[in-house]
C-alpha cells in the first residue's frame, strides 16, 4: 500500500492541525499556568511542520539509500516481480478484518467456532490446501483455548462448543 509522500505528508499536516486545534480547546487547570492543552498543541504543530517537509520531499534521499542498502544484502526472488491486480493486494486487510470479526462474533457463537473460522480463512488465503487448513482449524483453536483458558485462566466464551475442560 504505497502512497505518495505528498499524500502522507498532507495527511499529517491535517492531523497535526486538528490535534493542535483540539488541544487548544481543552479547559485550563485553575491556578496553573500549564494545562492539558500545551502538549497536544506542541505535538500537533510539530506534526504539521514534519508533514509539510515530507510533502515537499525533504529527507527522501536518506530513505532511498537505506532501501538500496537492504536490497543489496537480501535475496530478490523472481516471484516478487509478479504483478497482481490492485484488488489482490486488499488481501492484506484480511488479518485485521478477522480481528474485527472476532470482536463482534466471539460473544455470540463462542471462542472455538470463531477461532476455527479465523484460522481456516487465514490458512486458505495464504495458499494452504484444505488437507492442511481443516485439521489446523480444528486443532489450533482447541490448543490455544487449552493454554489460555485452562492454564492462564483467561475467560474465553464457550458459546456453541464448550470444551471438556471448561
Amino acid at each position: 500500500m504505497r502512497l505518495t509522500d505528498r499524500f502522507t505528508g498532507l495527511f499529517l499536516v491535517g492531523l497535526g492541525a486538528l490535534a493542535a486545534y483540539g488541544g487548544s480547546r481543552l479547559p485550563p487547570v485553575p491556578g496553573q499556568p500549564v494545562g492539558p492543552n500545551v502538549f497536544p498543541m506542541v505535538v500537533g504543530i510539530g506534526l504539521s511542520v514534519c508533514g509539510l517537509m515530507i510533502a515537499f520531499g525533504i529527507g527522501h534521499r536518506f530513505e532511498e539509500e537505506a532501501e538500496a542498502d537492504l536490497a543489496a544484502h537480501t535475496t530478490h526472488s523472481p516471484e516478487q516481480d509478479v504483478t497482481h491486480r490492485r484488488i489482490w493486494y486488499l488481501r492484506a486487510l484480511i488479518p485485521p478484518a478477522l480481528l474485527l470479526f472476532y470482536v463482534f462474533v466471539v460473544d455470540h457463537i463462542g471462542f472455538i467456532p470463531t477461532a476455527a473460522i479465523m484460522v481456516l480463512v487465514t490458512a486458505v488465503t495464504l495458499g494452504a490446501s484444505l488437507r492442511l487448513a481443516i485439521p489446523l482449524a480444528l486443532l489450533a483453536p482447541a490448543g490455544v483455548h487449552l493454554i489460555f483458558y485452562k492454564l492462564l485462566r483467561v475467560p474465553l466464551p464457550d458459546g456453541w462448543l464448550p470444551m471438556p475442560w471448561s
Binding site: P33, C50, G59, A66, D69, T74, P95, A115, A133, L136
Partner: protein, 495 residues
C-alpha cells in the same frame, strides 16, 4: 552477598527455569522463521507473562529475545533470507560462506559470537547500571525531560529512513499517548465520547498490532520463502576458537559498538548489526574479501547485535526509556510486575536486578547448546509451511490482547495498530519511533509540564542545571544532525 544469594534463589526457582527453557525454544523457533521478528516474538509473549511471577516473566523476555536474535542468522545463512531484521546486514556474507561449503562455520560463528556478544552486553549492564543509578538519584524533572527528549531524538536519528519521517512517526506516537484522562488536568482528551478511550491506548495491544498483525498482513501479499533442502551438518563449533583468536579486535569492536547502540534509546539490534558490519568492512585489512564469504564481518556484527540486546536494558531499567523495541515491551511488563523502572529499583529491588543479570548470563550460555540443536533441526523447522504458522499468530494476537484486560476493545486496538504499522512500514515511516513515542508519551508530558509549572512558564530553568544543560545540548545536536549531514552532502556535491 545476601542480595546475590537471594538473586540466585530467585532464578533457581522451578517456574523460572521452566520459563527460561520454554522461552528459549520459542525464541529459537520464531526467530528462525523468516518474517517473524524478535520483537514480535516478545510482543506475543507478554499476555503469557501476566500469569507468571515477576522474575519468570522477565526471564521469558530475556531468553526469547536473545535466542530469536541469534536464530535469525539460520535462514540468513541457509536461504539468504534473514529470519529477523537484526541479521539482514550480514545475510549476504553468511550465505556466500554456505555456497563455499562453509555453512557450519557461518552458523557456528552466528551462535558462538552471539553468545560472546550477549555476555559482553550483560557485563556492560552490570558495570554501567549501578553508577548511573546513583547519578540519576539526583535528577529533577528537568533532567528527566531532556533525557526522554534525547531518547526520542536518538530514535529518529538512527532510524534507517528519512529523519523527517522518523520524527513524524515519533510525534504520532506522542499524539497517541495524549489520548485519555491521564494528563495534567485529568480531563478526557481526544476520547470523542468513547468510554473505552478514557484509560488511553493500552501499550501492549498497540505493540502486538504494530509488530505481529502487520507482519501477517505483509505475509498475505509476499511470496512464500523457498523450502530449505534437507542437509546434514558437520561440527558446528569447529573453527570458532580459531576465528576468535584471529579476529580479537573485530570481536571487541563489535561488542563495544553493540553496547553503545544498545544504550542509545530506540536503537536496537538491527542498527547495531548494520553499523558493525559497515565498520568491520571499513577497518578490515582485507576489505576486498567482504561479500565473498569472509567471516570477519560476521564475527563483528554477530557479536554486536546480541551485545546491544543486553545493554538496551540500561536506559530501560534506570529511566524507563526503552533502549530498543524489545525493551519498550519489557518496560510494560516491568510496570505490570511492580518492578517500576527508576534508579531506586537498584536499591529497593537489588535482588531482582541481580536476578536479571544472572538470567542474561544463563540465556547466553545455554544459547550455545540450544542454538546448535536448533541449527541441526533447522531443516525440519524451516519446512513448516507459512500457511500453518500465520493463522496461529492471528489467533494468538486476538486472545493475547483480550487477555491483557478481558476487554474486547484491546482486540480492536490490535487490529487498528496492525493497519497503522503496515501502512507506515510500506511508506517508509519507522514504526520503532512510533512505539517509542507511545511508550514515552506520558513520561515526556509529565516531566515537561511539571518542569514548566516549577519554572512558572519560563524555559530558562530547563538549561540552568549542569546535567540538564549537557543533555539539552546533546538533544539539540541530535535534532540538528540531519541538517548538518544534508548541508555537508550538498557542499560535497558542489565541490
Amino acid at each position: 552477598m545476601d542480595t546475590f544469594l537471594e538473586a540466585i534463589r530467585l532464578v533457581a526457582a522451578p517456574d523460572v527455569i521452566v520459563a527460561i527453557l520454554a522461552a528459549s525454544v520459542y525464541g529459537l523457533v520464531v526467530g528462525s522463521l523468516p518474517g517473524l521478528s524478535a520483537t514480535m516474538a516478545t510482543a506475543l509473549l507478554v499476555p503469557v507473562t501476566f500469569y507468571l511471577s515477576p522474575i519468570a516473566a522477565i526471564a521469558t523476555i530475556v531468553s526469547a529475545s536473545a535466542m530469536a536474535i541469534f536464530s535469525g542468522d539460520i535462514p540468513g545463512a541457509l536461504l539468504r533470507i534473514p529470519g529477523t531484521p537484526a541479521s539482514a546486514a550480514y545475510t549476504d556474507e553468511a550465505y556466500a560462506m554456505t555456497r563455499k561449503g562453509q555453512a557450519e562455520l557461518a552458523l557456528g560463528a552466528g551462535v558462538w559470537f552471539s553468545a560472546l556478544g550477549g555476555i559482553a552486553g550483560t557485563i556492560s549492564l552490570i558495570v554501567l547500571a549501578p553508577p548511573l543509578a546513583e547519578m540519576a538519584l539526583s535528577f529533577s524533572t528537568f533532567e528527566y525531560f531532556w533525557l526522554a527528549f534525547l531518547g526520542l531524538m536518538c530514535a529518529t536519528l538512527v532510524a534507517r529512513s528519512s529523519p523527517v519521517k522518523a520524527i513524524a512517526s515519533m510525534l504520532l506516537g506522542l499524539l497517541i499517548a495524549c489520548i485519555g484522562i491521564e494528563n495534567p488536568g485529568g480531563v478526557p482528551r481526544f476520547t470523542f465520547g468513547f468510554t473505552d478511550l478514557l484509560g488511553g491506548i493500552e501499550v501492549i495491544p498497540a505493540l502486538v498490532g504494530v509488530f505481529a498483525v502487520s507482519e501477517v498482513m505483509r505475509a498475505m501479499i509476499t511470496p512464500t520463502p523457498p523450502p530449505l533442502p534437507r542437509r546434514q551438518f558437520g561440527s558446528i563449533l569447529a573453527g570458532q576458537w580459531t576465528l576468535t583468536k584471529k579476529y580479537p579486535w573485530p570481536l571487541m569492536r563489535g561488542n563495544i559498538v553493540g553496547i553503545i547502540i544498545g544504550v542509545l534509546p530506540g536503537a536496537g539490534a538491527d542498527m547495531a548489526a548494520w553499523v558493525s558490519y559497515a565498520m568491520s568492512k571499513r577497518l578490515s585489512k582485507e576489505p576486498e574479501k567482504f561479500g565473498t564469504g569472509h567471516p570477519e564481518g560476521l564475527v563483528e556484527a554477530g557479536a554486536s547485535n546480541n551485545a546491544s540486546l543486553a545493554s538496551g536494558w540500561v536506559p530501560s531499567l534506570l529511566f524507563g526509556i526503552p533502549g530498543d523495541t524489545i525493551t519498550a515491551i519489557a518496560i510494560g511488563v516491568l510496570y505490570m510486575k511492580g518492578l517500576n523502572p527508576g534508579p531506586t529499583l537498584f536499591t529497593e529491588k537489588a535482588s531482582s536486578m541481580y536476578a536479571i543479570y544472572i538470567m542474561f548470563i544463563i540465556a547466553n550460555i545455554i544459547m550455545i547448546p540450544l542454538g546448535i540443536a536448533m541449527i541441526r533441526a533447522a531443516s525440519y523447522v524451516l519446512r513448516a509451511p507459512r500457511a500453518s504458522v500465520m493463522p496461529v499468530i492471528v489467533l494468538c494476537c486476538a486472545v493475547g490482547a483480550f487477555a491483557t484486560g478481558a476487554n474486547l476493545f484491546a482486540v480492536l486496538t490490535v487490529a487498528a495498530f496492525g493497519v497503522l504499522g503496515y501502512v507506515m512500514e510500506a511508506n517508509g515511516y519507522p514504526v520503532a519511533a512510533l512505539v517509542l513515542g507511545i511508550v514515552m508519551g506520558t513520561m515526556v508530558e509529565q516531566s515537561f509540564v511539571t518542569s514548566l509549572i516549577k519554572s512558572d512558564g519560563s524555559m530558562l530553568p530547563f538549561f540552568e542545571r549542569p546535567v540538564s544543560a549537557v543533555l539539552a545540548a546533546l538533544t539539540i545536536g541530535a535534532l540538528l544532525w540531519p541538517v548538518f549531514v544534508w548541508l555537508r552532502r550538498q557542499a560535497l556535491q558542489r565541490a
